[in-house]
Each structure stands twice: as C-alpha cells, then as structure tokens.
Amino acid sequence: MNMTQARRGDLKTNKQTYSPRRVQDYLTIAFFLAPAFILFLVFLVYPIFRSVYFSLFNWNGLGPAVDFIGLDNFKQILTDTIFMRAVGDCLLIVVLSLCLQLPLALALAIMVGRDLPGRAFFRTIFFMPYVLSEVITAIIWLGLLNPDPSRGFINALLILIPGIQAQTFLSNIHEVMACVFIVLTWKYFGLHLLLYLAGLQNIPKEVEEAALIDGANKWQLTHHITIPLLGSTIRTTIYLSVLGSLTQFPLVWIMTKGGPVNASEVMATYMYRFAFVRFQLGYGSAVALVMLLICLAFSVGFLRLAGQPDYLGGI
C-alpha cells in the first residue's frame, strides 16, 4: 500500500527515478564496455557501411570512388552463372556438413564420451586439427593431395593398391569439391565434437540408468534419450556449421583459388577474386553485401524457428 502511494508521485512526472546509485552503475557499465564497443563500431560497423557505399560504384581501389553506377553491380551478381555456382557450392558444403560432419562428430562424441579408457587422449587428438590455422591446414593438405605419387602422400599410398591410378584430386574438376569438403571436415569436426562432449556431460546419468533399467538397448538409448537431451547443443552446432560453411574462405582459396575453372568456387573466393585480383572493389563490396544478406537471412530464420542457440553448452 505504502509502496503504491510512494510510486504515485513518480507516475505523475512520468519519469523513471534514477537514484544516484543506479546512474553510477550504468555509467560504470558504459565505461567498461566502451573500449570493446568502440572497436566494434570502428572495425565492424563502419566498414560495413563503407562497403555498402562502395558497392554502388565502379571502383578499382586506388584513389577515390567516382564512377557511380547505382545497382548495376547487384544486377550483374544476380545474373552471373559463376556466382550462382558459388552459392550452389556453398549450399552443397552446408548440406554435406549437416549430413556428414555433424553426425560423425556426434557419433564419435557418444563413443568417446562416457566410459572409453583414454578418452582424454582421444579428445585431444580429435580436437587438434581445429587448433591449426586454416593456412597451415591448407598447405599441409596441398602437399598430401599432390598429384605426383613421388610428392603426394595419399597418391603414394593409393598406387600401392593394384589397379588404382594416382588421382589428380585438386586438379580434377570432379574430385575437387569432395577433397575440399574432406579437408573442411577434418579441420572443423573437432569443434563440434567438443561441443557434443560438453553437452553429453550435462545429461543426467540417472535418466540414462532409468532407461537402461527399463530395458532400452544402446540404439534406443541414443535415439530416445541422448539426442533429444542434446537438442540445444545440436541447434548450436548447426548454427555454427552453416554460418561457417557459407563464409568459408582460407582453406578453399589456398588449396584451389576457387578450383580449376570455378569448380570449387564459393562466395568468399568469388568476392576475393573480383575485389583483390581483378581490382573491382565496388563489385567485390556488392558481393560481400549479398553474402551478408544471405547469412543474415539464414540467421534470423534459424533463430526464429529453432530458438536461441545455447552457447553455454546444452543445459
């Protein structure tokens, strides 16, 4: 009662009270956030706006942008078969990741997760590829996939099998996408494995034991208990995987530069080639903007459909 009466005075002025204490709280928060926020504005938000500005020009990157062409860049992007191919390749990587990479990580996590002796060792070696930088990974695999059996390790092993010839791998327009995908999987499944392992830790043992007592076998256990309880972790990994696949660049560029005749073209290599090899930065900016919109569309759509991904690991 008293509280309501005390409030009426505040309601009259229509202002929320700011006690000096709360103001100081907010100010402290603002000060501590300021450096990170300024960096965010300067290195993320501002370049995006500049990019939008440049995408309306035909500009070679040297000197000021003067040749205004409006939306011509975007028209050209949407009618370019090579860009469509790049989008297609990106989607292919997304689908393959979702169908192959994530289930692989999940299966390994379940195998390694619980009672396997030496699971710390397995965790480490499965996670190690993720720790390498993309550039080093690409260079290592370039060496492994070399078409010459005297220089490429995989081909050296392949020709020992009777009847199999040395494969040209990254020079072969039919094999290049598969090779790129295998390298991507090798590099990134460790991250998903780790997330699943963390998620598995959070499944209460009692639930599993109850299921086992009720007579569930291993498959039913996995199917009906483990996977549903890993739901939010799975949503997180799907989100990370799709965004990572859509914006994949270093591995593809260093291994194939977009592949022989655009066979392994992805959106990021397309953008890089036009912006930094052909010196058409206006066009490259437009491509970057289109990529941003595609990722944004996915992101918003996914969050709407699947709810907030839980970054803390699936509780």
Partner: protein, 455 residues
C-alpha cells in the same frame, strides 16, 4: 569510495587505449612487414663514404622484390650491401615475397596510399592504373638528365614498357621473351633430332614423345597465366600484330577469326593429352619443378626459365642439357615467326621515393651489375654494354630474338587492365578444362574487353 576508484581506473584504461590507437602511424606499419631480409638492416661499415654529395641525413629505402631463391636472392642482397657500404647514411630494407604473395601484398599497400620506394613491376596495364592513382614517381627528368645519360643506357623498346602517356615511371632490369625450353636428353631419347619449327611438326613431336612414354609439356594451369601464353602465341602467329591491335582498340573484336582459331588449335593440342598429371591445378613453381626434375620434355616459359627450373628442382641443378626454341610458326598464319611475346622485370619507383632510391636504381641497372645479373642466368639485360655477361648460348639466342623482333607484345594479362587480364586468364583456363567452346571463351574475353577497354 571504491566506486570512484573503479570509475577513474576505467577512464584511465579507455584513455590509454584511445591514445595507443591514435598514436601508431599508419604509414610505416604495413611496409615494414617482417620478411626474410638478407641485407643487414642497420647501416654497416666504418669505411669512410666514397662520394656522397648530399648531407649525410639518414635515409631509408624500402625495396620489394620477388627473387625468393638464389641466385637472385643473394645477388640483390649483395648489391644492396655494396651500396650501403658506399653510402653509410642510406639503409635499404628489402622485402622478399613470392610472386603471388607479392601481388596480394602490394595491392593492400597501394591502397594505403604509401607504396614501397622501389618495387617489382611488369609494366603494362597494371602499372598504368597505379600511375592513374598517383602512386608512382615520374622519373622522366632523372632519365633525361645530362642529355639523357641514363635513358640512353636502355633499349628503347624495353624502357617503353615502363612508360605511360609519354612519361617514365620505372626502368627494366630484364627484358626477354617467352619461348619453349626443352630437355635435349629427353628429345634424343624419343628420337627427335631437332626441335620443331612449324605447328604441325610440333604436334608430331608431341605424339612422338608421348609414344616414348615421356610427358611432352609441363604447364602450370593452376596459376592460369602459363597456359595463357600458349594461346597468346597461337593468336600472335595466326593473326599477327594487326589482330591484337584491332581487338585492343576495339575496332575489331576478340571474337575475330584469329582468336577463335587460336583456341581451336589449342584444343587440338590439349586433345593429345600432352601435359603432366594435375596440370589444371599446378602452380608455376610446380610446372618449373616438374620440368627441372626431368618429368617433362618442354615448357613454355620466359627468360627466367633456366634459373627457376633449377631452383625448383629436387637436386637444385635442374635440366642438364637445356635447349631453347621459338614458338613454332603456324601454317597459314599472318604472324611472323620473328614476332615475340614476352616481358620482363623492372623497378617501379614509388611516389615517396627519396632521390637516393633513384640513385640506387641507377646503380642496380649499371652495365657492370646487369652483366653480372646476366651471368647468373637471372634474365636478359636491356642495358647497353651488359651483353658481355651473357655466356649461355640459350640466353644469347633469347636476346637476339628480342633484339630482332618484328613485333614485341607484352604478355596479354600484363598489357591489358587488371580486370580484363584476370578474366582473359580464366577464359583460357576453361579451354584447358574443356568446359567451354572456343566461341564461348572468346565471347567472354570480348565481354570483358567491352567493359574495360572502352572508356
């Protein structure tokens, strides 16, 4: 009380952060990138300076080059050391980068508006766009000084590659041509006595080599430009100077018959499957390495071929018996077999280069040093009086061809504006991969020409 301390602390941190961000000069950061410099960074020697007209104010010269392997690497470093010994106030910082990495890094540095003082350049459309953006120094006065003393040391044709609209922005240190380098031992093994002089003979030799179990040609189509040279020569042999001139000035077109026929002849060659495994993804170094290791009988490459193939080979010695022959004549073509496609290497001078940088470049392109460069097999000197250094009969043949050329064409992807050069390379690659017809590839090049050449 403690709240006050926190507020002050956070203000101090923000202040420090902001000052650190503002203080770092944007200029030197990218150019002083750590690189395997072989030249001692600090000014050395106690020896008194030989002659130095300017007051001894310390000067730093930034020099970017692409000779990542010997002999080039040590040669340039040695010259820098010599110069620094003679001019103690000058410090020369050398940044060495591999070809593709250099192109990438230079792009970034150019966009920052602060180019290196001396850097590798191939002239042509690329350099022209740098000039238009005001990034290069006009050195015409330096060349014309003393009645053209420096200018007259260069062959006129070679020097013109580094000129734009009548002004000079760089000088060549190497100007040669692209031709076929071949492994004499492998040719003998296949029973070929003499290199081919016509396209028909060439295709026949390719078949002979293949029948003998030898890979005929090494090409690095992953980098796209090595294969483009084959098409470029075919177009030059079939259409001559007239065809390219017409297409370049857009009076004609890149879909004119000479270019289409060039693609068709290229297809004929590709149908024989003359290339090494994995050629579609091979880099230039892969190509030279395969040739240097004796895995292929021929490669179409420039005057840098001998030094690069030995550097890229496993034993560092490369091909034991190296020969050179001109791109064969194409029967029925209007181009002459004395028409030459090629290019070279030169030094472009950045807009902020101090006078000492130009003096250093004069030193680098002196007859003595150029002769030394030639002796090391690094290239063909475009400088008068340096021919004495050319002892290799192959290199002498190259120089003769360049000197006697009826028509000298800088490589297409350098001559044309960068956007078009890259697109042209891509189109040629589609023929190598068999994913486009000659008509389609030519049309793609013409589309790019319409966008980039009509301004």
């Amino acid at each position: 009380m403690s709240r006050k301390i926190y507020t002050i602390l956070s203000l101090v941190l923000i202040g420090a952060f902001a000052l650190a961000a503002c203080a770092a000069p944007a200029t030197s950061a990218p150019t002083q990138a750590p690189a395997p410099t072989t030249a001692p960074a600090a000014a050395p020697t106690t020896a008194p300076a030989a002659t130095n007209t300017a007051a001894p104010k310390p000067v730093t010269i930034n020099w970017w080059h692409i000779s990542t392997a010997d002999p080039g690497l040590s040669f340039w470093a040695g010259l820098a050391k010599q110069y620094m010994a003679a001019h103690p106030n000058v410090t020369i910082n050398i940044t060495v980068l591999e070809n593709e990495a250099f192109k990438t890094k230079l792009t970034t540095v150019l966009q920052s508006g602060n180019p290196p003082d001396i850097f590798q350049s191939w002239g042509g459309g690329d350099m022209n766009s740098q000039v238009t953006a005001g990034l290069l120094k006009d050195i015409t006065p330096d060349l014309d000084a003393n009645g053209g003393a420096w200018r007259n040391t260069f062959g006129a044709g070679a020097l013109s590659v580094y000129a734009y609209q009548g002004k000079n922005y760089g000088v060549p240190w190497d100007m040669g041509m692209v031709g076929f380098w071949y492994n004499k031992d492998l040719f003998t093994k296949a029973g070929i006595a003499n290199p081919p002089t016509t396209w028909t003979d060439f295709l026949a030799d390719v078949k002979t080599l293949k029948a003998a179990g030898i890979t005929p040609i090494s090409v690095g189509e992953g980098d796209k430009w090595p294969g483009m040279h084959i098409w470029m020569y075919l177009a030059t042999r079939i259409g001559g100077e007239a065809a390219f001139d017409a297409a370049y000035t857009q009076k004609g077109s890149f879909t004119d018959p000479p270019f289409i026929q060039a693609f068709q002849k290229l297809q004929d060659l590709i149908a024989l499957q003359p290339f090494q495994d994995g050629f579609l993804g091979a880099t230039h170094d892969d190509m030279e390495g395969a040739f240097g290791n004796g895995k292929a009988a021929m490669e179409l490459t420039g005057q840098w071929g001998p030094s690069v193939e030995s550097a890229d080979s496993a034993d560092k010695k490369g091909v034991a018996n190296l020969g050179f022959f001109n791109f064969p004549a194409v029967e029925g073509g209007v181009g002459k077999v004395t028409d030459v496609c090629g290019g070279g290497n030169g030094f472009a001078i950045g807009k902020n280069a101090p006078p000492e940088a130009i003096d250093f470049v004069k030193f680098l392109t002196s007859a003595t040093n150029e002769a030394q460069m030639a002796k090391l097999g690094m290239g063909i000197p475009p400088v008068v009086g340096a021919e004495s250094g050319l002892t290799d009969p192959n290199m002498l043949a190259v120089k003769q061809n360049v000197a006697n050329a009826t028509y000298f064409q800088l490589y297409y992807d350098q001559y044309l504006p960068p956007a078009m050069g890259s697109s042209l390379n891509d189109s040629v690659q589609t023929i190598f991969a068999g994913t486009a017809t000659p008509q389609q590839a030519a049309q793609a090049i013409e589309d790019s020409a319409k966008q980039n050449l009509t301004k």
